[in-house]
Each structure stands twice: as C-alpha cells, then as structure tokens.
C-alpha cells in the first residue's frame, strides 16, 4: 500500500477475492473498483488489466470510469488518506485555517502524496456533517469541530 510497486501476486489475490465477493457483472464494477482501491490504496494498471479480463470490458473503459470518480485513484496513494471537506458550511466555520495547518504540517498540497508514502492529502465534497464542521476524515475515522491546534495531535495517532 506504500508507494512503489505492489507485486502482481498481491494484486491477483485482491482482485480475485473482490470479484468473487461481488460477482463479475457490470453493475458490480464500481463496488469492485472501490474495494480494490481501498485494499491496494489505488488502482494499479495491472489490477485494471485483470478486472478487464474478468468482466470482459475493455481496459480503456475501466480507465474512463476510474478517472471519473473522485474516490478512485489511478495513482499510488499514501498509507493514510486524509480527506478534507471543502464545502461552504465547513469553509465558513474555520475550515480555511484547518486546511492551511494541514498543508503546513504535512508539507503537501491538495491531492499530493508524501515522499515517504505515509500521507495523501485530498479534498472531498460535502460529507453532510455540516453541524460539526470543519470536518476531516482520515482513512475511516471522522474528526469534527476541528481547530488548527488539534491537527498535530491527530496526525500523531497514525503510524
């Protein structure tokens, strides 16, 4: 899941398992891509190649889908993905300062991954948690009512 190559054996293992779980049909394509993306951290070319064989869909079409959705990535991502809610309700309650602190702490800009492969900093559309903004999600953990000074402590929880 770090940057660098994931060996093909691992990819085959994940792709086979995910497809066995969902079934090899087109209406399961986005769930399949979501799961593979989650397990491998992104969608490597080899994974798309294998999914294409299973589903009998051209790879170009899979790439078209993978590059369309914000949550799917065709580029390697960090071990931990931080999603920052950039919508208006979070923006007006101090989101700007949290975003600035995140970028400074991680020395990353939007959609960048740190060289050590630990962090990817991404933005997301409204998470619907507007009453506790500003909100970030790290992997699957939600943090609400954030202030800039909480950021270093939260980041330190992840290895």
């Amino acid at each position: 899941m770090t940057i660098g190559s994931i060996d093909n054996q691992k990819i085959t293992e994940v792709v086979d398992r995910v497809i066995a779980h969902h079934g090899a049909t087109m209406d399961e394509l986005i769930p399949i891509l979501n799961d593979v993306n989650k397990e491998l951290g992104y969608l490597p070319g080899e994974a798309l190649k294998q999914i294409s064989k299973h589903l009998h869909v051209p790879r170009s079409q899979l790439f078209a889908v993978s590059s369309f959705y914000q949550m799917l990535s065709t580029k390697p991502r960090g071990r931990h993905v931080i999603q920052f809610c950039e919508s208006a309700p979070c923006h007006v309650v101090g989101g700007r300062e949290v975003w600035k602190t995140l970028r400074e702490e991680l020395k990353l800009e939007a959609n960048e991954t740190s060289p050590d492969g630990k962090w990817t900093l991404a933005t997301t559309s409204c998470l619907g948690l507007c009453s506790v903004g500003p909100v970030i999600i790290i992997d699957d953990d939600v943090y609400g009512n954030l202030t800039p000074d909480q950021i270093p402590g939260i980041l330190a929880r992840y290895s």
Binding site: F68, M71, S87
Partner: protein, 593 residues
C-alpha cells in the same frame, strides 16, 4: 419478549463516535455485566439524542435522564450510582431542556414532522422499533387491501411531488412506469444527496431507514417491479451500513424478498454506492453509475420510465419522497393534502444554514413564507445583524433579497422568483455578505463538479468563473455584466442536464437583485460588504493609534511603519489584507475601508 427495568440509549452518530461513543458503550456493557445487571438493563444504540457537541451521551429510560460528556472510565460510576443505588449521577446530568441538537432540535410551533418524525426517537438499527411506530402497516395495507391502481390513485390525490427538487408529481411518474412496456422494471432511490450543506436525506437514512425501505416496497407494488436499488453517496458510510442492516432485517422478517407477507408480491433491494461525483445525483448519470459507467448524464427523452436502468422502465424518486409514502397510505391522501398550497402539498425538510440563529434540519408545511422559516423557525439573523439574502435550492438555486421574504415556499413561487425548491438547502446571509463573492463561490463548485460531457457547461462555467474571479480581484471591466448575462443565458438553454442548466442561477439571481454590488466592484473598485480582499484597504485611525507597535510587530509582510508612541501607517501596496493588525490592535484603531 424480555422485560427490562431500564433502557439506555447510546448516541452513535458520527460526531459522537468520533469522540469515542463506542468505547463508552463497550465500557457500559462491561460494567453492567460485572454488576450482574445485564438482564435488567438493556443497552441500545440510537442515532441522536441531544447536542452531540457534548457527546458521547446516553439517555436512560424510563426516567428520561440524559448524561453527557462521558468517557469510558465514567461508566463504573454511572452504573453504581444510577442502576445500583438508584440515584441520578448529577455530575454528568445535562438537563434535556438545555440540550441543543445541532442538526434537529425540537419542532417549533410552525413545524410539522412527517419525514423526520422518527429521527432520533427510534433505534434505526432495530426494525422492531420502527414496527412499534406503525412501521410496515402501510405495506401490509397496500398488499392486502389495495390494488396497484388504488395506490397510485391515493398518492395522486395526496398531491405528493418529487422531493429531490424538480417537483414532478410522484403518482404520475409511477403510472408512467407502470404503463410502460418491457420487463423487468426497476425502482431506484436517489440517495446521492450532494448539495453542500444539505443533509436531510442522510439524517433520514441514518435515523429512520425503514421508512424509505417501506416507501420503496409500496412504490414497487404500485409499479409492478421486483428489484430496487438505493444509490447512496460514498460520503455517507453510516447511512450505507444502516441501510444494509435495515434491508437484511426486513428480509429476515419477510418484508422484503419472495412473497412478501405471504402474498404473491416479491421485491428485493440492494444498496449501490457512488464513488464521489456530484453529477451522479442527476437521474440519468445515476443510472449510468449503477451500470458501472462514468456518471455522465444523457439527453432525455427517453425518460427513465420508458428506458432507464439497463434500458428497462425505471422509476427514480428521492429519499424524502419515498419516506412520505407510508404515512400517506396510513393516514390517507386527504390528511396529506390538507397541508400545503393548492399545487404543493404536504411538508418539506430543509437544512437551514448560514447566518441564522438556529441552524439545522427543519420540516415545514409547504406554503410557509421565507420570513416564517428564517425568523420564526430559525430564530432570526445571528448577532442581530440585518438580513440580506437567502439562497434556496443548493448550488444551482438562486439568491432572494428581503423583498421576497413573504414569498410562499412552494415549487411554483420559488421558480417564478428565479430560484428553485431544490433538494432543500437553505443558506441565510447577513448584510456583511458580498453577493459577487457568493456567486463566485457557487460557480467554483459547479465548475468543479461539471462532468465535462457537454461544452456549454464545461467551458461556460469556466468562463463565468474567470470573469467573477477577475471582478472580485478588482479587475472588472465595462461590459462584464452584459457578458455574464449572455453567458448565463446560453449555458442555461444549451446544457444537457440540470447541473448545467441550473449552474448560472446564482449569477442570474444576484445580477437581478444585487446588480449595484457588481457595479460597485467593477466601476468603483469597491466591495460594499468589505469581503473581497483586493478591493479593501486596512487603515490606521491616527486619533485612535497609541503607537504601541503591536501591529507593526505582528504584520507578516512588514507593511506597517511608525515610531514608538507615534502614529503608525499601513502601506497599502505591501499589505496582503490578512487582517492580523486588526485582530491584535487593542485600541480598535485599525479599520477596513
């Protein structure tokens, strides 16, 4: 059935979970087991009790005692005090009257709760809680006493219209899908609630998922279809898991699946998740996404009722539309139609946000005025500032000024005023809001979310945003307003789907009602609301300045000069308008011009 002397509801909303609600729940259960009380006290998970800002929190019944600000370590004390000794643990007591649910507070007199009636009151993870509130009675009634035509007639009489925003009569949609040739037919619930600041549907899915499931089953019976999908945004993981659990429980009880309630009607549901694309809330894009394609809209007709998912007849309604259906069947069309206006019946949920005192979810009868919503339900403008505008209909809606405060909130009136009903976002703005900046902000959003398939939307929104950026940066030119009007008109008429057609609305409506602000930006190079940084200047009032040097020492770019105990001056050419000097000045000597 087991009887318990006490029930403890633990709030497991995302907010409380992020503060450790599950750890509290585990600790509570451990303590109850350790004290031999686990057969006397039942612990339940609920979606919302009070204000999660004081979470994690629990509610103990039958006493109705509310404890907040809990940690796992506090559980031993609470179990001992409350359940063993029978005393209220005052230290954690938070009187329920003072509890503020930031999303959904107690209904004000002007509100009527139909869709939100169970939210926060029942355990969404337990189907029996829903059944105890007359849940699935409507489905039983429909399957045993009514023909599909009866159901469509009843919903027709109720006047229910699409709550996703467009307001198409629901029963008419159903009858099209029913009449449409071709099998199988599909039923879809649009739970891709993407408008920033709108979270009504999330609350219903997380707090009362079975209302949606039951509503869908009734619709499926009316249309004659056996397979349904709920398309939920991936940004709502808890809604997805609550729905999945709800579907599973309904299946186990024979309320979904083959031969529902022993009749020959069969219907099953699946949840499909998006992957982060706003445009997937558009129905044709949504279907493309379920089919495993890029979520791009296609021209209509053919409408989904004729050729929808996999080219088959498909009916799509929004979460809120389905959630209304069981109540209409149970209480009757006349009851539902008694609320609202002539053409817009029933209630509508809104997410009230922005500069209003009480933000959060509300449910009001249609036909209520904007003034009643903002001042009676919302409590008026925050900090006693003046009202400037209200934006309805989400990022594709319009901004309405104070002249429209007495406008009736219904589909036709909002559209006629240049805004729209939309899914239910309502952003209130005070008199310190710059309307050009607001238009720019919404344009940034639609520009970002444009799927790129059709040129008017892809390129047009970009051009509008460029012009607005320029105006806000103080580089507006003569002719910009006319250009914006022309572009808006072209994007509106030529775009493929609702996203593009609605994208210029914030610009059109602000141009109509706040044209003078655009003119001030362009011709006088002034931002009347003092928001646009390029158009404001920070100045030090010589009579108030004491020469304490605090501002000069804190200025990050060294724009402030002056001797100690002498008047300081800001060099506007160096100043980056960060506002730090104003914040640090103890004598209110720094002003914005």
């Amino acid at each position: 059935m087991k009887f318990y002397r006490s029930h403890v509801l633990v709030c497991i909303d995302p907010e409380c979970r992020s503060k450790g609600a599950y750890e509290v729940l585990d600790a509570l259960q451990d303590e109850l087991v350790a004290n031999g009380l686990i057969d006397e006290v039942q612990v339940l998970e609920t979606s919302r009790i009070g204000g999660c800002d004081q979470g994690p929190e629990i509610m103990v019944y039958p006493e109705g005692v509310h404890y907040a600000n809990l940690t796992p370590d506090d559980m031993a004390f609470i179990v001992e005090e409350h359940f063993l000794k029978g005393r209220i643990a005052k230290k954690f007591l938070l009187p329920i009257t003072s509890v503020v649910d930031e999303e959904l507070s107690a209904p004000t007199p002007k509100e009527i709760r139909i869709v939100l009636r169970n939210c926060g009151k029942i355990d969404p993870q337990n189907i029996e809680d829903y059944i105890a509130e007359d849940g699935y009675m409507a489905l039983a009634k429909v399957l045993t006493e009514m023909t599909p035509e009866d159901v469509i007639d009843e919903v027709m009489k109720s006047g229910l219209r699409g709550r996703g925003g467009a307001g198409f009569p629901t029963a008419k949609k159903w009858s099209f899908a029913r009449a449409s040739a071709g099998t199988p037919k599909y039923l879809i619930c649009n739970a891709d609630e993407g408008d920033p600041g709108a979270f009504m549907n999330r609350r219903v899915l997380e707090g009362d998922p079975h209302a949606v499931i039951e509503g869908m089953a009734i619709a499926a019976y009316a249309i004659g279809c056996n397979q349904g999908y709920i398309y939920c945004r991936a940004e709502y993981p808890i809604a997805v898991s609550t729905l999945r659990l709800g579907i599973q429980q309904a299946r186990e009880m024979g309320l979904l699946g083959q031969n529902i309630l022993g009749t020959d009607f069969s219907f099953d549901l699946e949840v499909r998740m998006g992957a982060g694309a706003f445009v997937c809330g558009e129905e044709t894009a949504l279907m493309a996404s379920i089919e495993g394609k890029r979520g791009e809209p296609r021209p209509r007709p053919p409408f989904p009722a004729v050729s929808g998912l996999w080219g088959k007849p498909t009916n799509i309604n929004n979460v809120e539309t389905y959630a209304n259906v069981p109540q209409i069947i149970l209480k009757g069309a006349d009851w539902y139609a008694s609320m609202g206006t002539e053409k817009s019946k029933g209630t509508k949920t809104f997410a009230l946000a922005g500069d209003v005192k009480h933000t959060g979810l509300i449910e009001v009868p249609l036909g209520i005025t904007l003034r009643e919503i903002i001042f009676d339900v919302g409590g008026g403008i925050k900090d006693n500032k003046g009202f400037k505008a209200v934006q309805t209909g989400g990022p594709m809606g319009g901004c309405l000024p104070s002249e429209y405060l007495d406008l009736s909130v219904d589909y036709e009136a909002l559209t006629a005023a240049g805004s729209m009903m939309g899914s239910g976002g309502m952003v209130v703005m005070d008199d310190e809001t710059c309307m050009v900046d607001i238009a720019r902000f919404f344009m940034e959003f639609t520009q970002d979310e444009s799927c790129g398939k059709c040129t008017p939307c892809r390129v047009g929104t970009r051009r509008i945003l460029d012009i607005l950026d320029r105006i806000c940066a103080g580089k507006g030119e003569d002719g910009d307003i006319e250009l914006l009007e022309q572009l808006s008109q072209e994007i509106r008429t030529n775009s493929l789907c609702g996203l593009g057609q609605g994208a210029p609305n914030p610009v059109i409506s602000t141009l109509k009602h706040f044209r003078h602000e655009y003119e001030a930006h362009i011709y006088e190079k002034k931002c009347p609301a003092k928001v646009c940084k390029a158009l404001i200047r920070y100045e030090i009032l010589p009579e108030a300045c004491t020469g304490c040097t605090v501002c000069a020492r804190n200025c990050p770019v060294g724009a402030i000069t002056g001797e100690r105990r002498g008047v300081h001056v800001i060099d506007s050419d160096i100043c980056v308008r960060c506002g730090i000097c104003q914040q640090v000045c103890n004598f209110n000597a720094v002003v914005v011009r």
